[in-house]
């Protein structure tokens, strides 16, 4: 046994810089790195066409619909939920707005119709989840089946062609030389970013996803908030439906297929935690772009679908490993 001893009590621990921001930035930098690497690969394999304005515009327009859906999905996932019904809602909104009855009222009604149908479906999801206390996975799975069925019924499973020329002219056109779809994507992202990062609504979304009970005890109306978050996701689906209809000049119950998987994948690749409470819209945007660029490179290089699939799996893993900084930092806790 050793003697009692007393040492110098005045030593101090060094102060350190704000952690969170740096980590997020690091993660996003990693992701951006992946995107840049992909672009370099694209350019190396097809120097003639990859970085042309036309190809970039094509990629961005391709990314538009899934990008908008992913914005909504980011909100849902940050709030601790999941939405499997986005694809079906896109289909339903698109079909509804292009039925003959709706088209005869002109483009404004068509747009409103898509937005309202999307919002409505989203709110039904939200109410089932928050007030009906049904787990998000199940509630939105039910909506997935129902909305799809309804879209099939409404359309009689036929592709509804847009005959309303005003609609097509506007949404398929350009503004200041940039396609309307790209403007829309940018606008939705910008509004989403501000909403998530600069408003009380966004702050509450993080709180609800991080610890719903704590949020409730802090005086947040968790149920109403949850319902609204799914409403936002639905609204995004409505906007995406506009985009898909504009691009394909038609509404069909097959639109939006696999959007749920694609959107969730983009959100998660983008660094948003599936368990909620943490996430970033910029990450989501980069995630969407990564998938779009990968698809474009495959097509540009005329690869077989089977190789594409294998490569896609490998790229997903590589992308995540490249941005694993966070996992390492949290390693001590999360291992």
């Amino acid at each position: 046994m050793t003697e009692a001893r007393v040492l110098d009590p005045k030593s101090a621990a060094p102060q350190e810089p704000p952690q969170q921001r740096r980590n997020l930035d690091l993660r996003l930098t990693g992701l951006l790195g992946v995107l840049v690497v992909l672009c370099v690969v694209g350019y190396a394999t097809r120097p003639d066409s990859f970085l042309t304005e036309a190809n970039i515009s094509t990629m961005l327009r391709l990314a538009a619909a899934i990008g908008v859906v992913s914005v909504g999905m980011t909100f849902v996932i940050i709030s601790g939920g999941i939405d499997l019904s986005v694809g079906s809602i896109v289909a339903l909104s698109g079909v509804w707005m292009t039925t003959v009855a709706t088209q005869s009222y002109g483009p404004v009604v068509m747009v409103l119709c898509a937005l309202l149908v999307g919002l409505g479906c989203g709110l039904v999801n939200g109410v089932l989840i928050s007030y009906g206390k049904i787990v998000p996975f199940i509630a939105t799975l039910a909506m997935y089946a129902s909305a799809k069925g309804l879209a099939e019924r409404l359309s009689g499973r036929r592709t509804q062609v847009v005959t309303e020329t005003g609609f097509s002219t506007f949404f398929r056109g350009d503004i200041l030389g940039v396609p309307v779809l790209i403007w829309m994507l940018a606008a939705v992202f910008a509004v989403g970013w501000v909403l998530l990062n600069r408003t009380t609504f966004g702050r509450r979304t993080f709180a609800v996803g991080g610890n719903a009970e704590a949020a409730r005890l802090a005086g947040i109306d968790v149920r109403r908030h949850t319902a609204l978050v799914y409403g936002i996701a639905g609204l995004c689906c409505g906007i995406a439906a506009l985009m898909v209809v504009a691009r394909t000049t038609s509404g069909a119950s097959t639109n939006g297929m696999f959007y749920e998987l694609d959107a969730i994948a983009a959100v998660v690749i983008g660094g948003t935690l599936l368990s909620g409470g943490r996430g970033s819209l910029i990450g989501t945007l980069i995630g969407v772009l990564i998938f779009t660029v990968v698809g474009n490179i495959f097509t540009q290089n005329n690869l077989d679908t089977d190789i594409q699939n294998i490569a896609k799996g490998v790229i997903i893993i590589a992308a995540v490993l490249l941005q694993r900084t966070t996992a390492r930092r949290r390693g001590t806790r999360a291992t």
Binding site: R46, S49, T52, A54, N55, T58, R61, L62, V100, Q103, E152, G156, R157, R158, T159, Q160, V161, T163, R172, V244, R247, T248, T249, S250, A252, S253, T254, N255, G256, M257, G295, N296, T299, Q300, N301, N302, D304, T305, D306
Partner: protein, 323 residues
Amino acid sequence: TSNESANTAPNAVAGGSGQNTQPGKQVTIGFSAPAADHGWMAAMTKNAKAQADEFSDVTFKATEGTNDVNQQIGQVETLINDKVDVLVVLPFDGKALTEVGRQAMDAGIPVINLDRVFDTPLAYRLWIGGDNYRMGVNAGEYIASQLKAKNITNPIIGEVAGIDSLPLTQERSKGFSDALAKAGFAVGPRVSASFTSESGEQQTANLLQSAPKLDALWNHDDDQGIGVMAAIDSAGRKEFVMVGGAGSRNMMDLIKADSGVVKATVLYSPSMASSAIALARLLGQTKGIGDMAEHDIPASITTYSAVVTKENVDQYLDVGFDS
């Protein structure tokens, strides 16, 4: 367009004349097909049902369309358990449903194998379907002749295929490239969509980017064709000849109008479903086909993939389906 023709009656109906239209013994026909998730498949199901409705002596039982072969086997089994008189099966995958087809035949239920073919004739009494290889060949030959006529020597020919993992897509592509090879041409950029207009649009948008100049383009499927057309339209491209596939009403209208890139479509008509039901009824009533010398219905019928162009389009408008 589909909107205009939405209220018109089913366009393709078989068995309109002759003795066979007289009501006979009551026949229950079981029908199983993949999910009616795009226009052509929906038209198959719809035609089958419409054809059945034409006959007062037919009870029609359709099961939920599914793209899971395991599920479809279960459904056919259910129909067998139900003791239907005749089965009409459009398998999602012919090989995978062969055994259950045999099972039905063994149970004494004649099976009409619609379109995607079973592995062995033991599994069906009659096969009726299209000729995917010939469809590709016809598309290839049409394109080759067009290009030859324009004296293009080194053409860039694009292809928008359907779901790559289906045998029918592979056959179509093979026929297409064989026919082109005969003319000394080869397929250039090729993408595969999934029979939906959205996927058609996405894939074509990418394809058009990778090929700044095209001479011809074959699209396997007119359902995805709506999206393909939209992509071509947004890219503002019109320097090439496009040929469709399957033969939707929409595409035929475009061919008739002759205002864009679409010059032809190669038929793969869902009217075969109507024929299948008509033949199923006859099988159930043990009748033959009136105009044939044979007493019995033949064992296999292949529909012809006609090339529909501006010249002959009027003649085919009635089999054009709503995509």
